[in-house]
Structure formats: structure tokens, C-alpha cells
Symmetry: C2
Subunit: 212 residues, 2 copies
Amino acid sequence: MTQGAVQTPGKRSRAVSAKKQAILQAALETFSQFGIHGTRLEQVAELSGVSKTNLLYYYPSKEALYVAVLQQILDIWLAPLKAFREELTPLLAIKEYIRLKLEVSRDYPQASKLFCLEMLQGAPLLQAELTGDLKLLIDEKSAIIAGWVASGKLAPVDPHHLIFMIWASTQHYADFASQVEAVTGKTLQDEAFFQSAVDNVQRMIIEGIRLR
Amino acid sequence: MTQGAVQTPGKRSRAVSAKKQAILQAALETFSQFGIHGTRLEQVAELSGVSKTNLLYYYPSKEALYVAVLQQILDIWLAPLKAFREELTPLLAIKEYIRLKLEVSRDYPQASKLFCLEMLQGAPLLQAELTGDLKLLIDEKSAIIAGWVASGKLAPVDPHHLIFMIWASTQHYADFASQVEAVTGKTLQDEAFFQSAVDNVQRMIIEGIRLR
DNA sequence: GTCTATACAAAGATAGAC
DNA sequence: GTCTATCTTTGTATAGAC
């Protein structure tokens, strides 16, 4: 049994998993703030409570660690989109999607930031995802929105631009948190501020696409 | 006369300025994509057509170069906000602002990206600006918007959230250009796509805050 | 699995000639 | 102002003992 056997529930495996998880979390924190090049392995090691050598035992190189982190955050990032529900009325589905994305910005700001960092660099490691799975998912959800427009349930709007606007305006609160905080003095951790963000973003977008 | 005398219109000064400008431009390109740590001075040197030693003659350190670049892009980033016009009707002023910001995303995508990078890192070098000049500017423009709301010219909206939404949804086309391109197959360089972005963003936001 | 010691490479910065 | 050569630091990664 090697370290690769993640699902084996032996004591050892569990200890290993816990350690790897701690490393991943520490790595996410530093990668998301300083990028892959701005991050020192020593820093990650310290933050996760293992030695640098030990860290390299679990993840054989910095890049391997980075890829592992990316893989993990992709799921977080995609979850709200996958949960986008066709069964609801258009306005409800979109309102719920906005709330979910803002919750991700509040609860997993580092995931949002790291994702943003990757995009800024031209998505060298996510290119495959972007043009593959993500593209399919978007096409699928876009078709739903287009269907709503066609059947007169929604004002004429380009689905892509609508999706971009939702992504942008929700992720902004994570990615530009320092700016948001500098301007308003608040963060999404502040419950009232979170709620006002949800309300305002929902209202502006909904009113912007409501049929009349 | 030293190299610092930027405004002196002598032949030498002009040559120096041109060189420094070329370096700044090359630095912006690499910094905006790879960040300060991911950028190699040699790369900047090559891209701007000077030797690494020579580059360090004009900018004594990597950090000095980085600061110089940041300083320059701040003006670009702030220009549209400064141009926000109170004299127009609310909806026109906001439509114009959106168009201006999208033009910046189209014409200076690197400036937008570098600014975004700085924000992701917690704005270590722009903190002063954020809480100083920018804060003042925002407060001023927010007051204008709040005035419009109070006098019944605009639907009730929190000025800060409105401004965030405009920033987010316009900068998104620069910062997430790879994603936008992966999903739509288009870039802002495509005139028709640019126009549809302007139209859609303007329409959604305007309809979202129009009085009715 | 974990540690100490160390090899190795890369890149920022400087010295000094021209 | 520009170049060649070089110093120095730092950080990734490996070797090998325990």
C-alpha cells in the first residue's frame, strides 16, 4: 500500500491524508496571495507545520503542489454553476446562483483569488478545462438562458454576457477585497454587508433582465 | 542636468525618456502577466531592446521598476472615474462611464491586469492610494449617485455596490480575457464583440437602476 | 517518514573598463 | 551610457543517515 491509496481507511492513510490536506490548505493561502513564483516552499512548510524536506516528500516539486491545489479549487469554483437550476423560474434560478457565488466569495476567497491569478496569466494550466468541461457546462447553461429569452420569459439578453456579469460582480468581492474594504470599510465577513451585497447585485441584475 | 530632469526638452533627455518608456512598456507586459516575482529582468531587457545591465542603470532595482510601472498605470485606471460627469443625466453619465471603462479594458488590458494583480495581493504598494486619493474620488462620485437616488432620478441603489458592479463587469473582459475567449471565441479586439459587450453591460445595469 | 547537510541553478545586483 | 565579467543571495531539490 503506497501513499497514493487515498481511499484506504487505515490509520496511516488517514494521517497522511490529514497532512497532505494541511499542506494543500497552506499552499492555497500563499499561492493565492503571492502566486506560484512569489511563494516560498519554506513558507508553505512553516504554515502547514511540516519541514521543507518533508513537504517535498509528499509533493515532489513546487509545481506538483501547485497543480494539486488548482485541481482542488476547480471543484469549488464550478460547484455553483453545476447547481444552476433549470426547474426554477428564471429569476429565481438566477437569484439563487448569485447568492451561491457570493457565498463562495465569502467562504473560499482564496480559491477565487487563485482562479483569478490563473486567468490573468492566460490559464496555462487550466486551458484544457476551459475549453473542455467548463465550455460544455457554459454552453449547456447558456442554452437554458437562451431558451428563456426565446420563450419570452426573460428580456433579450446575450447569455454569455449575462453569465460574465454575474461571475464578475460576485467574484469581485473576493478578488478585489482589499479595494472593497478600503472603500467601504467592510468585508463579506460582516453579515449585514454580505446581505446588502447579495440584495444589490441580485436586484440590479434581475431588474436588468426582467421582462416588462 | 541629470537623468531625472524629465521635462527638459534636450536631445539627450528625449532619448533617455524614450528608452525609459520602452522599458516601462516591456515591464508592464511581463509584470501584468507573470507578476513581479514571475518576471525575469532579462526578459524585460530583451523585450525592450536593452541589456540587463543597462536596464539596471535606468532603474536601479526590480522593485524600483515595478513601482514606476504601477505609478503609470494608476493614471490609466483612474481616468474614466475622473471623467465621470455629473452634468449629464444619470443614465447617460453611467452609460458613458461603462463605455469608457470597457475601452480601457480593450486598449490597456495589461494595465487592468496588473492592477488586478496588485489587488489580489492585498495592494501592498497601493494601500496609500486606495485609502487616499481613490477613496476621496469614490466618496465624491458616490455622493453624486446618492444625490440622484435621493432626488428620485434613480432607483434606490447603494452607490458603492453600483460602482463595484460597473468596475467588475467591465474589467472582467480584460482580466479574464482567456476565459472570455475560451467561452465565446472572441476578444474585445473584435469590433462587433466589443459593441455587444458595451450594449449588454449598459443595458443590464441601466435597466437595473432605472426609475419606474 | 523525518531529519541534517548539501548540491545546484537562477537571477538580481555590482565593479570597473571603455 | 554601455559593456563584460563576476559576486552574492536565495531557494529548489537531492543524498543519505536514522
